[in-house]
């Protein structure tokens, strides 16, 4: 019995089609004009340090950090002060790089707001904020949509490292693009023995394997501005000193390294 009813109602629903809902005519009236439609494609969520926020340049209605406009941002800080007002709660957050006021609006109408956070934020606690940067009377604050206590303190390390990464991305370009001589060359120079290609700085394609290793070691290892002695290089690479000496001669001839305190101590010739 029930089954039949179900069938019947299903049919009538199917037959109703487009005209069923009162007054809704698809394809018309719901299109807003282009000027009202907000372009979300440029919005970003950037991890930042509070110092970056304080140093941000104001450009009209927007802010630029590291030369790129910020819309949403996130950061982690320790609560230094809590002030409750009628319409908002103002927290002063400090992450070691600076401090800033973070306002969280209290929605008086939302009675059943998930108040999980409200009770837990206390002074000296670390928390993560997500929000937007605004300024008022030349003073900057953040209007936070979310403020969550930190439970795993590794999140602080993670955030600061992520902020560093994004900062470098915006100031230096994506990783690998501005290829450091050593890194890029190791990949390109493999398996190109016997090439007669001339040596531009950092081009190791015409050198043998030992020379490449010596050069890369010299380029990457910790050293004073006197460079490294060939014995040190030989020991570190596990290569015969004679081989290292020969390789050194090749690199010297190619103008990739130069001798410093004596003929056996070399440093990489870096073109500034």
């Amino acid at each position: 019995m029930n089954y039949n009813n179900y069938d019947t109602s299903y049919n009538s629903y199917g037959g109703g089609g487009g005209g069923g809902g009162g007054g809704f005519i698809p394809g018309d009236g719901s299109q807003t004009s282009p000027s009202n439609k907000r372009d979300y494609s440029q919005d970003t969520l950037r991890p930042v340090t509070i110092k970056q926020l304080l140093d941000a340049q104001e450009v009209g209605q927007e802010f630029k950090v590291d030369g790129a406009v910020v819309s949403q941002l996130t950061f982690v800080g320790q609560i230094r002060n809590i002030a409750m007002y009628a319409t908002n709660a103002t927290y002063r957050l400090d992450d070691g790089t600076g401090s800033i006021e973070v306002k969280q609006l209290i929605d008086a109408d939302a009675v059943d707001q998930p108040s999980a956070n409200k009770g837990k934020l206390v002074e000296n606690m670390y928390c993560r904020a997500w929000g937007k940067l605004k300024s008022f009377n030349a003073k900057k604050h953040v209007y936070a949509s979310v403020l969550r206590p930190i439970e795993d303190y590794n999140e602080i390390s993670f955030h600061l490292l992520q902020a560093t990464f994004v900062h470098l991305y915006h100031t230096r370009g994506p990783p690998g693009a501005a290829g450091s001589g050593g890194g890029a060359v190791t990949n390109g120079g493999q398996g190109q023995q016997g090439n007669m290609g001339g040596g531009g700085a950092g081009d190791l394609s015409s050198y043998n394997a030992v020379a490449k290793k010596v050069y890369n070691y010299l380029h990457n290892a910790e050293q004073s501005n006197e460079g490294l002695h060939q014995q040190t290089i030989a020991a570190a690479l596990g290569v015969d000193t004679a081989e290292v000496a020969r390789a050194g001669d090749d690199l010297l001839a190619g103008g990739l390294i130069y001798t410093t305190v004596d003929d056996q101590t070399w440093a990489v010739l870096e073109a500034d």
Partner: protein, 107 residues
């Protein structure tokens, strides 16, 4: 109410940051009355204040001033628990000094 910048450092940097207020994350090695030793890339003496409650083997973040003996006079201490990744915390210190622009104003 402005708070001072507190660059993150490890034991080897103490010399360069004398008389400045710094932030250090380390493992509590020893407690002795109002002094403690924490391991932050090397052992560091910290002079505790009344509110600091450290636990041995826990990670702690101390904020304080570096005195002339390269000890830190603690202004605030936060217990960071036992599952801190010290490699990550040390990497943050390295990043702080390599890329100062976003961390502190060097003077």
């Amino acid at each position: 109410m402005e708070t001072p910048q507190t660059p993150r450092i490890l034991a080897p940097h103490l010399n360069a940051f004398q008389h400045r207020i710094v932030r250090m994350v380390g493992k509590v090695v020893q407690l002795r009355g109002d002094m403690a030793i924490i391991d932050a890339g090397g052992n560091v003496d910290v002079i505790l204040n009344r509110d600091a409650h450290l636990q041995v083997n826990h990670a702690v973040e101390v904020i304080g001033k570096v005195d002339q003996n390269l000890a830190i006079k603690v202004q605030a201490a936060t217990d960071f628990g036992t599952n801190i990744d010290y490699a990550a915390a040390n990497a943050v210190v390295e990043a702080t000094h390599r890329h100062k622009a976003i961390f502190y104003d060097a003077d």
